[in-house]
């Protein structure tokens, strides 16, 4: 029954939530109206921020950092991960180092990087790089290693060179695993950049939120949160879509 509902109906709970929010705020069920603006007031603020250009500017700063940091981190992570999964020697050499550094929370690097890099555009990019490189490297290596050895043997007996085994069999079969990593980490990149902007970098959405906090502009904070939620959602969906396209037919 649920499967037969049109995708539009997936929005219904969201609409109900927004309506409840509007009603409770209008009826002032909670004391202190200033701490709980209604949905319509928030949307009003959203449009005025858009018109003033502040939101667009902050947002594009954050987006730029995420795009650069995440693409650099994931490309490096993919390359190293593929090599680690493919060649045992690389795995033996890098594996132990990566498994030691991997568990450090990305934000834990912030104080160190603030001193090394200083407070500039490179700081959030470096943080995002770190937060995407290690997990993607790890999941990619695992994905490549998990490809059934039978397929690799079959490819060899069919005359495939080592490189052809990698590109023709291992990588396509590891794609689902690799994309799971990319999808999760793209969301993570957004979470990390906001945190970095809140504590260290004076520009971007995170910084805008901190400024709004000091001015007790709850409406602005909520606008930022909504933008972030939509962005993370959009990123993950994008990767999901690409994965579906690449593995269409056989999964």
């Amino acid at each position: 029954m649920i499967n037969r509902l049109k995708p539009v109906w997936g929005l219904l709970p969201v609409v109900i939530l927004l309506a409840l929010w509007e009603i409770t705020a209008r009826l002032e069920l909670f004391p202190g109206h200033i701490f709980f603006p209604s949905f319509s007031e928030v949307m009003q603020e959203f449009f005025s921020l858009m018109a003033g250009g502040l939101l667009v500017e902050s947002f594009s700063r954050s987006l730029f950092r995420v795009l650069i940091g995440f693409s650099a981190g994931s490309v490096c992570g993919l390359l190293v991960g593929i090599l680690m999964g493919w060649r045992e020697l690389v795995d033996r050499s890098f594996g132990p180092i990566i498994s030691l550094i991997y568990p450090i929370p990305a934000l834990g690097w912030l104080p160190l990087l603030m001193l090394w890099i200083g407070i500039n555009e490179m700081l959030p990019i470096a943080i995002i790089f770190i937060c995407s490189f290690f997990p993607i490297c790890y999941t990619t290596a695992t994905g490549v290693k998990c490809v059934d050895k039978d397929y690799i043997r079959a490819a060899r007996t069919l005359g495939a060179s080592e490189l052809k085994v990698l590109t023709g069999v291992i990588l396509p079969l590891a794609l689902p695993e690799i994309f799971t990593g990319l999808r999760l980490e793209s969301g993570m990149a957004w979470r990390v950049v906001i945190a970095a902007e809140m504590v260290a970098v004076p520009t971007g959405i995170g910084a805008l939120m901190m400024r709004a906090e000091s001015l007790v502009r709850i409406d602005i904070i909520i606008v930022c949160l909504m933008v972030l939620s939509v962005m993370c959602f959009f990123f993950e969906k994008c990767f999901h879509y690409i994965e579906q396209r690449l593995t269409a037919g056989w999964r």
Binding site: T157, G159, S161
Partner: protein
């Protein structure tokens, strides 16, 4: 097509294996699970480490990596690439050898036609039935025209009917292409049907090599005899034609009617589970029915083997334990027994 030879091959499973498959011949490796049959195939394919040497046409290929050995290998799991459809799976081995795409297309079409699976070319492996997968995998292995074909229990995952049908097809293909083939199975019937020659593999070593008759009538040792089902083998003193297709042979005090093979019969063999034991005289014509005495009985979990003395011979019979209990058979009892005629194998040469 080359003849394939293994000389003193040893590794973690195999022990000093010497084997030879003639040019365009088909050798069946027969043995129970874990005997090392698959490992031997992997040795020939160059997929595992080994000591000793593998020769194709007398030339050592030990230094040749598996992608250059010109073999077609059908593993037990088939390993059809799940991300490629049937046609692309078949094309895989052609593309790796740098064939121009027009030639690849033509050959794929040819293979699809040869296996009778043109209608499956766009389907992905998850969307194929067991028998269809088998055909696609075989087409993929044969597409690059390998010189040696290695088949690892290719039919074990199929239902009886499909497997029987594919068995005939494989045999026909093998003869048509004249490709030197090594076929692994644990099923004795399948081995007899498909192979020119059988090699019994036991504990990583070759127990006996020969035609199925040679092995059946003349097992080299007790292990091999037990593996093929401990057949009762009787020598024939003389035989007399009854009607067309039937011969009565005399062995000791027994006159046994067997199918005629037209060349005179020297030995006959019957497996213990084709010997029926009953307490009362069975109804019907008095053909291949004898009186005997139980010497001893041995019960396994659900099978009882019964040793009988019949007209100067000792015969082994085997039947489900519950039937033995129902008949209340004891050592020393006099019983009637029936030899199931169509199941009696005959041998004309004096092995």
């Amino acid at each position: 097509m080359p003849c394939v030879e293994l000389r003193r091959v040893s590794n973690f499973i195999c022990r000093n294996v010497d084997l030879r498959v003639e040019d365009s011949g088909i050798l069946v490796l027969l043995g129970s699970t874990g005997a090392g049959k698959t490992t031997l195939l992997n040795v020939i394919a160059g997929l595992v480490e080994y000591k000793g040497s593998v020769l194709f046409n007398g030339v050592g290929v030990d230094e040749v990596p598996s992608n250059k050995r010109r073999i077609g290998y059908l593993s037990q799991s088939l390993a059809l690439f799940p991300h490629l459809n049937a046609a692309s799976n078949i094309a895989f081995g052609l593309k790796t050898r740098k064939n121009p795409s027009s030639k690849v297309k033509k050959r794929v079409k040819e293979m699809l036609h040869l296996m009778g699976i043109e209608h499956l070319s766009d389907r992905y492996p998850y969307n194929l039935s067991g028998g269809e997968r088998q055909r696609v995998a075989l087409a993929r292995a044969l597409a690059p025209s390998p010189e040696v074909l290695l088949l690892d229990e290719p039919l074990s995952s199929l239902d009886y009917k499909t497997s029987k049908y594919l068995r005939i097809e494989i045999k026909r293909l093998q003869q048509k292409l004249g490709i030197t083939t090594i076929y692994v199975t644990h099923d004795q019937r399948e081995a007899e049907e498909i192979g020119d020659k059988l090699a019994i593999i036991h504990n990583g070593a070759v127990g006996q090599v020969g035609t199925s008759e040679e092995i059946f009538f003349n097992p080299l040792n007790k292990q091999i005899s037990e593996f093929i089902g401990s057949p009762n083998i009787l020598c024939c003193e003389h035989c007399r034609k009854l009607v067309k297709g039937l011969v009565e042979v005399k062995s000791g005090d027994l006159n046994i009617v067997v199918p005629d093979n037209g060349n005179g019969i020297k030995k006959i063999a019957i497996l213990p589970h084709d010997v029926y034991v009953s307490r009362n005289k069975p109804p019907g014509p008095d053909v291949n029915r004898f009186k005997g005495t139980i010497i001893e009985m041995e019960s396994l979990v659900n099978l009882t083997s019964i040793r009988l003395r019949v007209g100067g011979h000792i015969l082994l019979a085997e039947q489900p334990t519950e039937i033995t209990k129902e008949l209340n058979l004891q050592a020393g009892d006099d019983v009637h027994l029936i030899l199931k005629m169509p199941r009696i194998k005959t041998l004309s040469t004096g092995l």
